[in-house]
Symmetry: C2
């Protein structure tokens, strides 16, 4: 068998989920707990009754591609030919990396803390990976100059998620300007930026930067998974310059042929219904306010969430996040994801999600506070 496959290590995140009990308070969840709006499915059902579910063009339904491009209106990528509809943002990222990286030569820079899939995908393709960690002392804020300084001779692309899973930080316009200026000063082949925007509709700050507006060599990946509670629908997209997208469509065509036509109809209804992409946004804003009150009263150090539906809390000094997550689940019946899953820079931290019912979130965070207090004493 392919040795690159057998070398793929087990997922720490999945290991934590596997230990979950029926009684557990689950702050490890990586998907919304809301139900999706049935109106979008009813539209898709009407389409199926009339037209069946034929293959769509490889790149996706032309109307959907146009609707996506028009919604974001990123300069130089605002037409249907700038969009490839994919099987969720997972396939969007896989196709983007496979299209961009020459395994014999290129290196991907991953901005950490990061969801582990970027590095694992690049490794599966045989491309080199270099990581650059944002600093704990900056609350993991995106640091444009630090990212630019990590570029090596073979670097072809930089990938990051903003709003960020796991840190819940958002790239500010100032940090973005610094990174873009550094990239524009470089001589030679341009460095690509891959901006994973999957938590875009869960942005709680005003100065969020969208690289598609600022830098021509940007590739954006996104999906309906988090915005509309449609994780299982597997409907995402790549937005990028036309020449890049033309190549990406070829990869997508050989990997999955096309995205689900039914799911594309659901998406078309979302993009055609004014405000539908943000229909769950008020719920997240309210939950975040409650969360901040809980975190403040808990006494646990945390990074204030600017976006996504996560919050990172600091374990007492010297704690290993994997041990802590195991103890929390065994003795406190709380699932939290160890920071180590997102890179060594986050090993003293836990990633909590706050999409469970508010009383569960409260109970879970208070149990973590108890654990930290008790463990700090016994240390």
């Amino acid at each position: 068998m392919n040795p690159r496959v057998s070398e793929i290590s087990a997922s720490l995140i999945r290991e934590m989920h596997a230990r979950k009990r029926v009684t557990s308070i689950d702050l490890g969840l990586g998907e919304p707990t809301l139900l999706p709006n049935p109106a979008h499915f009813e539209h898709a059902m009407r389409h199926v009754a009339k037209h069946g579910v034929k293959y769509s063009p490889n790149a996706g339904d032309p109307d959907l591609r146009r609707a996506i491009a028009r919604h974001y209106r990123y300069p130089q990528m605002d037409g249907s030919e700038n969009v490839c509809v994919t099987v969720g943002s997972q396939e969007a990222m896989y196709v983007a990396l496979k299209t961009l990286l020459d395994p014999s030569r290129d290196e991907l820079v991953v901005v950490e803390p990061a969801f582990p899939s970027y590095a694992k995908m690049a490794t599966l393709e045989g491309a080199a990976v270099r990581s650059v960690a944002m600093r704990e002392e900056d609350d993991f804020a995106f640091d444009g100059e630090r990212i630019a300084a990590a570029i090596g001779e073979r670097t072809r692309a930089i990938v990051f998620c903003s709003p960020c899973n796991p840190t819940a930080r958002v790239v500010s316009r100032e940090a973005a300007d610094r990174l873009v200026r550094a990239l524009e000063r470089r001589i030679g082949e341009p460095i690509w930026l891959i901006h994973d925007e999957i938590y875009r509709e869960q942005t709680f700050v005003d100065d969020a930067a969208y690289f598609g507006q600022r830098y021509p060599h940007t590739i954006v990946t996104n999906s309906l998974s988090k915005s509309n509670a449609l994780t299982g629908l597997r409907l995402g997209w790549i937005l990028g310059p036309r020449d890049f997208v033309a190549q990406a469509i070829k990869v997508h065509a050989w990997v999955t042929s096309c995205a689900d036509t039914f799911a594309q109809q659901v998406a078309l209804d979302v993009f055609r219904t004014p405000g539908a992409l943000e229909e769950h946004a008020p719920w997240y804003r309210e939950r975040r306010e409650e969360l901040l009150a809980i975190l403040r009263s808990s006494g646990v150090p945390y990074v204030s969430p600017e976006g996504s539906f996560y919050a990172c809390v600091r374990l007492p000094k010297g704690f290993c996040s994997i041990d802590a997550a195991h103890e929390l689940i065994e003795r406190y019946d709380v699932v939290a994801i160890p920071g180590a899953a997102f890179g060594p820079s986050m090993d003293g931290w836990l990633r909590l999600s706050w999409v469970a019912p508010p009383n569960q979130v409260r109970k879970g965070i208070l149990r973590i506070a108890d654990y930290c207090a008790a463990a700090a004493v016994s240390h």
Copy 2:
């Protein structure tokens, strides 16, 4: 960019489709013209209303995996752990090849005439490809000894489609026995067989061989696309030995995460409803009888279709299939796929599909007969 991507050539099949006019008789279609049974969608809608569309486990819904394995009951692959649910059989094949082939060492043998995707996928992964063509003088019948004789030092797997797209031939039990005996006589690492069964429910002969029943190193790919007119639903699966499937699930997890939960519910309803997988089979049997009458009366030489919904017709000696397909569309307004799209062994042939309305199929074939007669005179 990745040079392996830019080297992917344009698809001849797609080129033909792009030339289609509104008035054209389309015998190039690669998907059913039937509408799917709405009952399966209504089941999925009830599921979504109650549970939303959450991620499924990477390998698919456990009930669906079990239902698929139990339906086929191939020895050594009859449990849920032998199934990975995929995004159509396209992703099933992509994941199977990526899991199996070590690009630094392995070679894939493709049994031709073949759908071009197998070779293109392997090339995209950097693996070597060798093709072995079935013989025109045998009407492209699968020849087990000829296939076995093509195995080279680096061959790791052999891929074929039966019932076959494009030839409409089916591997007979006798041909299968010959191939399996030859593989079992070999010393060294076993050679894997990848049996693409996507046209399984369109089998019109009694002695079809299923390699999953006969050879332990078999990987089966299939989907609901052709059986239930669900091409656009993108719901397929890999069936294989447990150790292989465990590795394939890892690749699938990084490429697409999981198949669409809605589509998996549609599939669960198909597998749980007795006879649903074969609900369109009588329609194909009837259409095939009509087709045979048309072909016989047309005077055009053809290979009698044993399965799938294609039929291959012979052009007059010395004809190039690409030129013929172009002339047919320009001057006779008929879309047919040139045999050259499936390998050089089929260059004197056209692949016709017969899923269009019967009067269209009749008209199209008669126009092709006229073209052949006229062109043979002018040659």
